[in-house]
């Protein structure tokens, strides 16, 4: 079977696990929501909140992503399933692809919810002329985050102390996504006088990042999870 077909099966399996366990709905979304509320308490003034809302959305996304990634690989290691995938000779690229797609789907839902939370909690508005840029930014940033998260999640899965190792590895690597996605969303929302055209170069950066980490991750994932 092709890498794509097996990757699709892996993605469906991961999403089925989340559907059965409800961890995303019962734990990750509340965690992200609480994070947004805490930010609101900490920054208090409406003017400041509206100015920094795009960055807070992406910070909350990245914190929540760590929970998702750890969960994604915890289900693989709980009963030796990741080893079983290796023993079964399943192409590591398919495993990487499938897990990244499943993570990306969850991240995308999370980001939409967090944007909605920013509108409700921070009084943020979404101008119609920025919708295309906003959607493109969400998709490209999600691809980059999913690519990095899956790569480092697979790397950390084999180590003791993976809970602390994962953020240490992941946060520096996703810094370009945090910066690029924040600037692009600021442009889409018109924050602090930014215009839509300011956001497209950042989307380009996000796309390059996603492709680079996607290809690199697919190639590196096999050796990382192997002996």
């Amino acid at each position: 079977m092709s890498v794509w077909r097996i990757g699709w099966q892996v993605a469906l399996k991961d999403l089925r696990i989340e559907w059965n366990s409800r961890v995303f709905v019962n734990q990750v979304l509340p965690f992200a929501g609480v994070t947004m509320v805490i930010f609101a308490f900490a920054l208090d003034a409406d003017s400041v909140l509206q100015r920094v809302a795009p960055g807070l959305v992406w910070l909350a996304t990245m914190f929540s992503m760590l929970v998702l990634v750890q969960r994604s690989f915890a289900v693989e290691t709980a009963d030796g399933a990741l080893d079983a995938l290796r023993v079964a000779g399943i192409d590591p690229r398919a495993i990487y692809l499938g897990k990244a797609v499943a993570l990306g789907v969850q991240l995308l839902v999370l980001e939409v919810v967090l944007l909605f939370a920013a509108v409700v909690l921070y009084g943020q508005t979404i101008p119609t002329d920025g919708v295309v840029l906003l959607v493109t930014t969400l998709i490209s940033a999600t691809c980059g985050l999913a690519a990095v998260g899956t790569l480092y999640g697979g790397l950390a899965a084999g180590f003791t102390g993976r809970e602390t190792l994962l953020p240490l590895l992941t946060f520096p690597a996703v810094a370009p996504v945090l910066i690029g996605a924040t600037r692009a969303v600021e442009a889409a929302l018109g924050t602090a006088g930014a215009v839509v055209s300011d956001g497209w170069p950042w989307v380009g950066l996000l796309a390059v990042f996603a492709v680079a980490f996607g290809v690199g991750g697919a190639l590196a994932f096999g050796p990382l999870i192997d002996e």
């Binding site: 079977m1 077909r5 097996i6 099966q9 399996k13 089925r16 696990i17 059965n20 366990s21 289900v75 709980a78 009963d79 030796g80 399933a81 080893d83 079983a84 995938l85 290796r86 023993v87 079964a88 000779g89 399943i90 002996e227």
Partner: protein, 252 residues
């Protein structure tokens, strides 16, 4: 063609030669018991046959695939069941079997037959694996091996953690799989039970394999085993024990 052919095989763990010139030949349908003390190289031998460890010296093949040049291909033909079951605890029994079957393109019928063989297609099918007993998890794991068409089963202490009833069920399943053409290597310290299950025994000592006297009577216990020996070899061929028969030549 033998299913497993090792000749003076050497495999290392770090710098330590866990297998130091092991030679072994296993024919189709055999159930071979690997005996030996802890650290003798039994698990390493299984992992070598699974294509998980490189063959450093000597020659070896599994199902005609060279262990040096076709190690990745070897993995697709074998099923290794160790101390863990390789299951997803939040998926149901049926979802686990479906996932593992889907990785080789198994049909719905094949997956159903795999579950029927282990008697998990009815009451247990929709139960989350996390809620199963140890024996039920083991049965589910073996159903997954069948669904993904493993031709060589490598079992490391398969009876560990199972009660008497679950052990009997497991043994019966392995005999039926063997009768249907699967080849099985079992590493075990439980000589009484595994000895009665096996058609042949070898001893692994200090990384080398020593043949033990073969059994002439299927009911005769393997040397070192103390069981009744009244079960081995009784299971006749079971058509479809490894699937429905519609899987031959299909798949990847």
């Amino acid at each position: 063609m033998s299913v497993v052919e090792l000749d003076e095989a050497v495999a290392v763990l770090g710098q330590f030669p866990a297998l130091a010139g092991a030679s072994l030949r296993v024919e189709q349908g055999e159930i071979v018991l690997l005996r030996g003390p802890n650290g003798a190289g039994k698990t390493t031998l299984l992992r070598l046959c699974a294509g998980l460890l490189p063959l450093v010296r000597g020659t070896g093949s599994v199902l005609g695939l060279d262990l040096v040049t076709h190690r990745e291909s070897v993995r697709r033909t074998v099923g290794l069941l160790g101390h863990q079951n390789g299951l997803y605890l939040d998926l149901t029994v049926a979802e686990n079997v479906r996932f593992w079957g889907s990785t080789v393109g198994a049909s719905d019928n094949e997956m159903l037959v795999a579950m029927q063989r282990l008697d998990i297609e009815d009451r247990l099918a929709d139960v989350a694996v996390s809620k199963l007993s140890a024996g039920q998890k083991r049965r589910t794991a073996i159903a997954c091996l069948i669904a993904r068409r493993a031709q060589l089963w490598l079992l490391d202490e398969p009876h560990a953690g199972l009660d008497a009833s679950a052990r009997d069920h497991l043994d019966e399943t392995l005999r039926q799989a063997s009768a249907a053409g699967a080849t099985i290597l079992v590493a075990s310290h439980e000589l009484e039970r595994a000895g009665n299950l096996a058609t042949r025994s070898v001893e692994v000592v200090a990384g080398r394999v020593h043949e033990l006297p073969s059994r002439t009577d299927p009911g005769e216990a393997v040397p070192g085993a103390q069981g009744t020996g009244d079960q081995a070899g009784q299971a006749g061929p079971v058509p479809g024990a490894l699937g429905t028969g519609d899987q031959a030549g299909s798949g990847e």
